[in-house]
């Protein structure tokens, strides 16, 4: 592609990104804002592809636009919709009264100043000569990392510490969600067309998750994208009104949620006992250990994201719950 048409493409892409961000924040209709935000996420995924970041593009499309969108849309659905233009105006006036016009302008001015400072600092950084030491070090050590996809090598080997702590963040978030209350009520059972779609879609999503997990070692993909796919299967089942969405119950659920951090720590500690640095895999074992950690991480991420969509502790649906219900029915 010649440089001029590429520049036109960039300009159009960036204009639509800024336009969608502006539109999703400017509207007072929450649902419209959320749907525009999902479109924003999908256009962002195109931008990541354009900047040669296919791993990030996959994650953005699946998590940033897909699952975040599903979470936000479900939350927007529970909020009362503004009934008429008068109510919209009333909320707008209330908002304007809450935040004075002067303050509004002051905030806008400050944010503009922040953007200007940030841009100035960036242009300054770009104009100085770049010294690419880290990319060189990464490509030099890629052969001993156990995988050939540099992004996976950074995530699971060179900076495995970051990923371990990220999984800890996920665990903390899901514990917070558990502490805040019960899951949202489920949905109505799906009609025949949607139900038929679900029957086809869920196996394909599970298969795609397995493929992404495996392919992450040498091509774009990995535990995050795979976990998001698996979670999407759970969300689709939930939307179709199923009570059993593949989520384990009780102790098993707790084990799955903690599996990512648990397996990671266990491998790190075992390596310490064997006299190696924490998470410093022996090169011969690196590939297998990374796949093991990624499998556990995928399951934890998927369970976390499904629980996030449920919005709380899941209601028991298994044998025990059935037994309890039967006990209650007996007078």
């Amino acid at each position: 592609m010649n440089p001029v048409s590429l520049l036109v493409f960039d300009a159009l892409l960036l204009l639509s990104i800024v336009g969608l961000a502006w539109a999703s924040l400017a509207t007072t209709d929450v649902r419209r804002g959320v749907i525009l935000f999902m479109a924003f996420g999908l256009v962002l995924a195109v931008a990541w592809g354009r900047l040669l970041a296919p791993d990030v593009a996959l994650a953005e499309a699946a998590i940033g636009a897909g699952l975040s969108g599903a979470l936000l849309l479900a939350a927007a659905h529970r909020q009362p919709r503004p009934l008429s233009p008068e109510t919209t105006n009333a909320t707008r006036n209330k908002g304007a009264a809450g935040v004075g016009v002067v303050l509004r302008w002051a905030v806008t001015l400050l944010c503009t100043a922040l953007a200007g400072t940030l841009a100035w600092a960036l242009l300054h950084a770009f104009s100085s000569t770049p010294h690419d030491m880290l990319p060189g070090a990464i490509s030099a050590n890629l052969a001993v990392s156990g995988v050939s996809n540099p992004v996976t090598a950074v995530l699971l080997n060179f900076r495995a510490y970051d990923t371990l702590l990220e999984l800890a963040v996920l665990l903390t978030a899901v514990l917070g969600i558990f502490a805040l209350g019960q899951a949202n009520p489920g949905y109505q059972p799906a009609g025949p067309v949607f139900d038929g779609l679900v029957r086809w879609l869920v196996p394909v999503l599970i298969l795609t998750a397995g493929y992404l997990l495996w392919v992450g070692a040498h091509a774009p993909g990995g535990a995050f994208q795979a976990g998001a796919m698996l979670a999407a299967a759970g969300v689709v089942l939930r939307l179709a009104g199923r009570t059993r969405i593949g989520l384990p119950e009780g102790l098993m659920l707790r084990i799955v949620i903690a599996a990512g951090v648990g397996v990671f720590l266990l491998i790190g500690m075992t390596l310490l006992l064997l006299g190696r640095p924490f998470l410093g895999y022996p090169p011969a074992w690196a590939g297998s250990l990374i796949l093991l950690i990624e499998t556990a991480a995928m399951l934890s991420i998927a369970a976390t994201l499904v629980l996030a969509f449920l919005g709380g502790r899941p209601e028991a649906t298994g044998v025990k719950a059935e037994a309890n219900r039967q006990c209650e029915e007996i007078p």
């Binding site: 962002l44 994650a59 979470l71 939350a75 909020q79 940030l118 990464i138 970051d162 996030a308």
Partner: protein, 95 residues
């Protein structure tokens, strides 16, 4: 200095400012959460623009890995924020 890199980095600055303004000024909690996500998208774009090395050159994988981590952390933070917002609404309705 690459034109593409500069274009995307400047857009990232605009997104950060837009998101911050929305997060500070919106009355609805849900829209504040959306605004914080827009701000996060700006930060991600900044990192990916910094990683870009031009057409045909392989980009720096380190910022890509950071953004991947960031996307997952952002969605879990969003989920926790939404659960908090739901609880807040429930408490307000009861009281």
């Amino acid at each position: 200095m690459l034109t593409t890199q500069v274009l995307y980095a400047l857009t990232a600055c605009v997104l950060v400012a837009l998101g911050l303004r929305g997060a500070l000024l919106h009355a609805s909690l849900l829209q504040r959460i959306v605004a914080i996500n827009v701000m996060g998208a700006g930060v991600f774009m900044l990192l990916i623009a910094v990683a870009y090395r031009g057409p045909g050159q392989s980009p720096d994988p380190l910022p890509h890995a950071l953004v991947l981590t960031g996307i997952v952390v952002a969605v879990s933070a969003t989920a926790l924020a939404l659960a908090l917002a739901r609880r807040l609404h429930a408490e307000r309705d009861d009281g």
